[in-house]
Symmetry: C2
Subunit: 758 residues, 2 copies
C-alpha cells in the first residue's frame, strides 16, 4: 500500500504539474514526465532532460550594476531530448488528444522505480489498440534512460509504424513574469555532432559559454526486426522509422545513454559507446531487477510508515523517492532546489540543501550526505574569493545560489545578503560529525569550513557595549530584508564560531599532526581562536522581555503588523502582489525565521520563550515559502500541539502532489520534501542530536495509529516504532548504544525492542 | 573679470571633460562642446545634442523582477548632429591633431552667451591659417543653434573647402561599468525624412518607442557665394560641400533650427521652416545682441560677486550660467541631474531639482521656479498611480528618477525607497509660497500636492507607543538603505503633514469657493485633516540623548564606524569599490543626511544639538555624492565656522571646472551648481525663509573682502552687500518691507542702503 501515485488527468494544467510529479531521475540524470507521442497543438509543455550541474553561463542583467553584483549566472541546461516516440496505426497517429480513450492509467511505482501509462485507445477511424508505455532512469547505470512500449492492436492493423527521435535542438523554459523562474537565455546549447556507430545513434551538444559537452546515444531494440526500417538525420535530430506488419504484440525499447564532460571526461562519445557495450547483454528485466534491489535498499533504511492516513503515507514516500531521485551522488553535484524535475531556480543549490535535505540523507544514507558536504567543500575557494570581492578582509561568504561556486543571485537583498547560508553550511558539517563521529572528515574538511566561515562572522560583525552584533544581513524570512541582528543569523553564527573553536580542539585530540597541518595551512593564531570564542560568548540575540519572545531583528517588533485577515486570498503569495518595500515595512513573514532557530538550536530558549515566540510569529507568517510548514510542524510537535503539527505536516507531505503552491509545473519543492521527513523524525519523534548523543521525545497526533522509521547513527541502524502508548527502540545493526527517551537513558543492544512509555 | 572660462588642453581626458564644460544650452536645446572638425582617430568623444525631456522608452533589465519593479525607463535621446564642419586647405584637412598649433585659445563667454576657439595653425605642408570658431544656443529663439567660422589663410591657398554635415545617424553613449551612466540601448532614433526646402536642408528623426519626432533644419550662410557648391544626401545625412578660391577671409555660418513634437506639435518640419523664415533677416550680430540682453537681465538678478577670490568668482558664475542653460522654461520640462550637458543619469529629474536647484530660481527668477513646480504637478497622476502599484492605498509616491512621471530607477534600495522625494517636492511648494505669497498658485496646485503627499505618509507610517514611525525607506544617504525612521525623512514628512493642514486653512482664508472645490475634488474629510495633524505632532525623530545628536535612523548609531583614515584614496568613491551591503554595515555616509534636515528645517534642533550632530556626521561622511559639500558648507557657516564653510564651498564652486569627481565628462553636476548658490545665500549670508518672513545671519570667511547678491522676495528685489563689518540691505525694487538681520527687524524702503553691523 502507498507505493504508487496515479494521475490520469489530461487538461493542460494537470499535465504540466504531472510532468514534474512524474519526473524520473537518479541524481545524475533527470527526465521530466513528458508524453512520448507529444500533445495536442496549443497545449503547453515543458519538455526537459537535465544532468545535475551541467550548466551554461548566462549574463545577469542589472538595471544598475553596483560593485560586486554578479554579472554571470550558472544555469542548468536542458539537454538532448530522447523522450519522443510516435506511433502510427495504418494512417492514424496515436494521440491522447484524438480519438477515444477507452481506458487510461498513469502511475509511478516508487518501489520498482519506473513509471508507466496503460492505455486502451480507439482511433478516430475506429481501430482499437492497447499501449503500455514504461520508462525508468536507472539507479545502477546512472547514464541510462530506458523507455519501452508494448503495443497490442485489438483491431486488424496492417502497418504499425514507430518513429523514434533523438533531438539536439532544445531550449530552456522561461517566464519573464515570475522571479522564481528564469526570464530568458533559453537556447544554451548547439549540436556539434550527429553520427551513427553500429546500432547506436548519437547526438552531441555543447553549451555556448562553458563549452561542456553531453552526448546522448540511442540504441533501439524491438521484439522482432521491423519490416521496414530507415534512419535519417534531420539537422540536429536522428529519426528512426520502423514499420511492423500485421503483428499482435510489438515491444520497442529505447535505450538512451547520456554522458557529459564533468563525469566522463572530454570523450563523451566513446564513453557513451562503452556504456552501451556494457549494456548489450542486459535485458529490461535485468534493469528492473537492479532498480528494485537498489530501491529495496533505500526503502529499508529510509521508509517511514504512518498508520492511519493512506494519503499522507503516499505523500511521505513520494517525497522521499523524489529526494533520492534528485540528490547528486558524486562530487560534481549537489541537490538543487527543484532537484532534476524542472527548471525553477535554474538548477541552483541553496541553503535548502543543508537545512532541509541534508538531514534526510545524513540519517538514512550518510554516504550521500558526505558527498553533499564534499561538494560544498569544493566551493570553498570560490566562497573565499566572493568574501573579498564583496569587501571582507577574510573568511568565506558562500553564494546564495550557485552551481559551481559563483554567486548567481541577481537580487542581493534576498540573495547575497542572506549571509546565514555560510553558518548553515557550517552547521551541516557539525551535524555530520554528531551523526557519524567521523573525525577524519572533520580534520580534512569540517574544521576548515568552520574556521573560514567563523572568519566571515568576525569580519562582518563588531562588538559594541559588550555585545557582538551583525548588521545588514537578511535572515531566512525574505519579507524582511537587510536588517541588523537577525536572531536566526546571530544564533547560527554563534554556533558556527563556537564550533570553529571546538572543532580545532577535537582535531588536536584526534591527531596532533592533523592539527598542526591545519593550523599551518589556515594560518590560525591563538588570538584568532580567542576572538572566535569571545564573539560567540558575546553574541547578541535580540529578545523582547515584555513579550518574552526572541525578536526577529533589531526593529522587526517596532513595525506595523500586516493585516493578514484583511488581505484577499488572491493576493497570496504576497511577493507577487506587493513591492518588496511594502512587505519590508510590516511584521509579516514569508516563512519560519526565529522559529527555525529554535528548532535547529534547541538550547536557545526555555519552554515558555519558545512557545511565546512560536505563537507570535505564527500569527504573522504567510508560509508563502515552501520552506515554512515543516518548521512550524516540527515546533508545534516540540511544544506539544500534535494536532497543529499534523495540519502543518499535511501541507508539506502533499504540497507537490496537490500542487498547493501552484507552481509545481516548474519543478518539485525539494526542500519541503526534506521537511516532510524532518517533521516526522524531528517533529513527531522529537529527535535531536548533539555532542552528548541522540534523544527523542515521541508523540503522535490522535488520528495516527503508529509511526515507524529507521535512522543510522554512529554506524548503527536503529528502528523506532511509536504508538500512542509507547515508543519501541530496536538496534537493528551495530554495537550497543544508549539513546535518550524523554530525558531517560535507554540502552539498546542485540536487536531487542526496548519499550518506553510516552 | 570672471566672465570667461578658458580651456586649451587637447589630451583626450581634458577634451571629454571640456565637452561638458563647453556645453551650450537654453533649457530647451543643449549641445555638447564637441569640435566641429572632429578628433584624431582613436580619441574618444561623446558627441551630443539634446532636447530637454525628448526621450525614448527603453526596457529596464532586472536580474529578478519583483512586483512593481519598473520595466521601462525614459531615456534622454541624443538627437541629430549638426556640429560637424570640416575645413580643407588645398589638400590638407584642418585638424588640431595634425600639423602645428601656433596659437590656440578656447573660451566660454558667460556674459555674451557664446563659446569660441581661436586658432592659428600650420598645416603639415607648412600653410599657415587663422580660424575663429564661435557658437551659441540662443536664449531668445530656443530652437536655434548657431555656429560661425571665420577663416583667414595667411599662406597662399588656392582652394578653401568647407563641408557641413547634418547627421541623423546618431546614438547615445553607454558605460556598462558605471551605475551612474546608462549601460545600453544606445541607438534610439531612426531618420524618417531627409529633404531640401529652398535654402534649408532638414533631417527628421523619430524615436523607436515614444514615436516622438525632432527635425533639425540647417541653413548655411557664407560671406560670399562659394565657387563650387554641391549638396548630397548620404543616407541619413546631408552633406553640403563648398569651395572658395583664393580668398583672404571667409565666414561661414550654420544656422540649425531644432523642433520637436512636444513643443511644436506633429508638424515639426514646417515649424522648423517657419522659424527659419523668421530668422531670415536676423544677422549674427542681432542674435548676439539678443543673447547679451537676455544674459544681462539674468546676471542683474542672479549674479553673485565675491571679492577676494577670482577663481571662486569664476566658479560661481560658471555654475549659475550652466543652471540657466539647463533649466526647462516651459511646462514640458524640468531640469535634469546633468542639465543638457551630457548623458549621465539619462536626462532624469531627481530630488536634485527641488532641494538643490529650485531655490536658485525661486530667489532670482521665480517664473522659472514656478515652471518647475508646474512640471512636477503635471506628474502627480503618475505619482498617485505609482503609490497604488507599490501597494499603498492612497497618496502620491513620486518617482526617484523620471522624465514623464514613470519610476525609472532600476535599483530600489537607492531609488524607489527614497520616499523623501515626495516630501522634498511638497517642501518646494511651501518654499514657493514663502517667497512669493502666491495664494492663487497654492489653491490651484500647492495644496493638492501637499495633501496627496501627506496621504502617502499616513499610508506609509504607523503609530506605535504614541509615536508616528516610518519604516523601510532610504534617506538621502545612499550608503545606508532601507532603514526605519530616517531622521531626514521623518522630519520632512512632518513638515509635509503640517503644511498639508496649514495650506488648507490658508486656502480657506483666501477663498471659500476655492477651498470647497478643493475639498470636493480631493475628497478631504475632517478626520483626515486631524490624522495629518496627529501624525505630524507625534512624528518620531530619532535622537541620542547621550551624544545629544539626532540619529540618522533607528540603528545607524549601533553600527560599526567605517575606518575612513585607513581606506586608501583609490577606493573612493566607495560605491565603485564595495558591495552595497558592506557599505550599509557601517556608519559611513555618502552625503549629508541628518545635517541636511538641520539646514532645511531650521527649528529641529537647538544650537548644541545642531553642532554636535554636524560634527558627528562630518566625521563619517565621504562626500562621494556631489550633493554633499554645499550642505556641509551651509551648516558650517550656520555654526560659525566660516573657514570650514569656505573649504567646502570651494569644492562646490570648482567641482566641475576642476573635475574633482572625475566624471564631469558624463555631464555637469547641476545640483552641486545649485548648491554653490545656496552655500553663498543660505550659508554665508545665512538666509532663511518661513511664514514669518525673511531673515539673514551674514558672516564672511576671512579671505573674502565682500559678497554681493540680489534676491527676489514677495515681488521685491533686495540687494545684499556683506563685508566683514556689516551687511548693507537695499530695496532695489518694490514696496517697503521688513527683513530680519540676526534677530533684529530691518525696514527697507526707497532704494536706500540700510547698514547693519555683524
Amino acid at each position: 500500500m502507498g507505493w504508487t501515485v496515479v494521475r490520469n488527468q489530461l487538461d493542460e494544467e494537470s499535465l504540466l504539474v504531472n510532468e514534474s510529479l512524474f519526473a524520473l531521475g537518479n541524481g545524475y540524470l533527470g527526465v521530466r514526465g513528458n508524453f512520448e507521442e507529444g500533445y495536442a497543438p496549443g497545449i503547453n509543455s515543458i519538455r526537459g532532460t537535465y544532468i545535475n550541474a551541467f550548466h551554461d553561463e548566462v549574463p545577469i542583467e542589472q538595471a544598475e550594476k553596483l560593485h560586486a553584483f554578479p554579472e554571470v549566472s550558472e544555469k542548468l541546461v536542458n539537454i538532448i531530448d530522447a523522450q519522443t516516440i510516435m506511433i502510427c496505426f495504418d494512417d492514424e497517429w496515436f494521440s491522447l488528444f484524438d480519438g477515444d480513450i477507452l481506458d487510461y492509467k498513469r502511475e509511478i511505482n516508487m518501489d520498482e522505480g519506473y513509471s508507466e501509462r496503460r492505455i486502451r485507445w480507439r482511433s478516430p477511424q475506429g481501430k482499437t489498440v492497447r499501449l503500455h508505455f514504461r520508462r525508468l532512469v536507472s539507479f545502477r547505470t546512472k547514464e541510462l534512460f530506458l523507455q519501452w512500449i508494448d503495443i497490442y492492436p485489438e483491431s486488424a492493423c496492417r502497418n504499425i509504424r514507430v518513429i523514434s527521435y533523438l533531438d539536439g535542438d532544445v531550449t530552456n523554459a522561461a517566464d519573464p513574469d515570475d522571479p522564481r523562474v528564469a526570464s530568458g537565455h533559453t537556447k544554451r546549447t548547439n549540436t556539434t555532432d550527429v553520427f551513427q556507430d553500429g546500432p547506436n545513434h548519437t547526438v552531441v551538444n555543447r553549451t555556448f559559454e562553458t563549452r561542456l559537452e553531453t552526448a546522448a546515444s540511442v540504441r533501439i531494440r524491438t521484439s522482432r526486426t521491423p519490416d521496414v526500417y530507415s534512419c535519417e538525420y534531420h539537422g540536429e535530430a536522428v529519426v528512426e522509422d520502423m514499420t511492423f506488419r500485421e503483428e499482435e504484440h510489438i515491444r520497442v525499447s529505447k535505450w538512451t545513454v547520456y554522458t557529459d564532460t564533468y563525469r566522463h571526461g572530454p570523450d563523451v562519445k566513446s564513453e557513451a559507446r562503452t556504456i552501451h557495450n556494457e549494456l548489450a547483454d542486459v535485458s529490461i528485466a535485468d534493469v528492473l531487477t537492479g532498480q528494485r534491489e537498489y530501491l529495496h535498499g533505500f526503502w529499508q533504511s529510509a521508509d517511514i510508515q504512518v498508520e492511519g492516513d493512506a494519503n499522507l503515507q503516499t505523500g511521505i514516500r513520494f517525497n522521499l523517492f523524489q529526494l533520492l531521485q534528485s540528490v547528486g551522488k558524486e562530487p560534481a553535484s549537489n541537490i538543487s532546489a527543484k532537484g532534476l524535475s524542472g527548471e525553477g531556480y535554474e538548477g541552483h543549490y541553496f541553503w535548502d540543501t543543508e537545512i532541509y535535505m541534508f538531514p534526510v540523507f545524513l540519517m538514512t544514507e550518510p554516504s550521500i550526505a558526505k558527498n553533499l558536504l564534499e561538494h560544498r567543500y569544493s566551493l570553498l575557494p570560490a566562497a573565499k574569493y566572493r568574501a573579498k570581492e564583496v569587501g571582507h578582509e577574510q573568511g568565506a561568504l558562500f553564494p546564495w545560489r550557485t552551481i559551481k561556486g559563483r554567486e548567481c543571485s541577481g537580487f542581493f537583498p534576498a540573495g547575497t545578503a542572506q549571509y546565514h547560508i555560510s553558518a548553515d553550511i557550517a552547521y551541516s558539517f557539525v551535524q555530520y560529525y554528531f551523526a557519524t563521529n567521523d573525525m577524519a572528515f572533520m580534520s580534512e574538511y569540517g574544521a576548515e569550513i568552520l574556521v573560514e566561515t567563523a572568519r566571515l562572522w568576525i569580519d562582518t560583525g563588531h562588538e559594541k557595549d559588550g555585545q557582538f552584533r551583525i548588521d545588514d544581513v537578511t535572515g531566512p524570512d525574505e519579507y524582511t530584508c537587510i536588517i541588523n541582528n537577525n536572531f536566526y543569523t546571530n544564533a547560527m553564527a554563534r554556533f558556527n564560531l563556537r564550533w570553529a573553536v571546538k572543532s580545532l580542539a577535537l582535531v588536536q585530540d584526534y591527531s596532533q599532526e592533523a592539527f598542526d597541518r591545519l593550523v599551518m595551512r589556515l594560518g590560525i593564531e591563538p588570538e584568532e581562536i580567542f576572538a572566535f570564542q569571545r564573539a560567540a560568548d558575546r553574541m547578541y540575540l535580540p529578545y523582547d522581555p515584555e513579550r518574552d519572545i526572541h525578536a526577529q531583528d533589531d526593529t522587526f517588533l517596532d513595525k506595523d503588523r500586516w493585516n493578514l485577515a484583511a488581505t484577499p486570498k488572491e493576493k497570496f503569495p504576497l511577493l507577487l502582489h506587493y513591492h518588496p518595500l511594502t512587505l519590508y515595512r510590516y511584521q509579516v513573514c514569508k516563512q519560519a525565521d526565529t522559529v527555525l532557530a529554535h528548532f535547529l538550536l534547541d538550547d536557545l530558549a526555555d519552554e515558555t520563550t519558545m512557545r511565546k515566540t512560536y505563537e507570535y510569529y505564527e500569527a504573522v507568517t504567510t508560509h508563502d515559502s515552501s520552506l515554512s510548514y515543516c518548521v512550524f510542524s516540527i515546533m508545534a510537535a516540540r511544544l506539544g500541539d500534535q494536532e497543529k503539527a499534523l495540519r502543518y505536516f499535511s501541507e508539506t507531505a502533499r504540497l507537490d502532489l496537490d500542487n498547493t503552491h501552484g507552481n509545481t509545473k516548474d519543478g518539485l519543492h525539494m526542500a519541503n520534501m526534506g521537511g516532510t521527513w524532518s517533521a516526522l523524525v524531528y517533529g513527531f519523534a522529537g529527535m535531536r542530536m548533539s555532542e552528548s548523543g541522540l534523544s527523542f521525545r515521541p508523540s503522535l497526533p490522535k488520528s495516527w495509529t503508529s509511526l515507524t522509521f529507521h535512522i543510522r547513527y554512529h554506524g548503527r541502524i536503529i528502528q523506532l516504532y511509536i504508538d500512542h502508548d509507547a515508543a519501541e527502540y530496536t538496534l537493528v545493526h551495530g554495537e550497543p548504544i544508549t539513546v535518550t527517551h524523554r530525558a531517560a537513558p535507554i540502552k539498546l543492544a542485540d536487536g531487542t525492542a526496548v519499550r518506553a512509555v510516552l
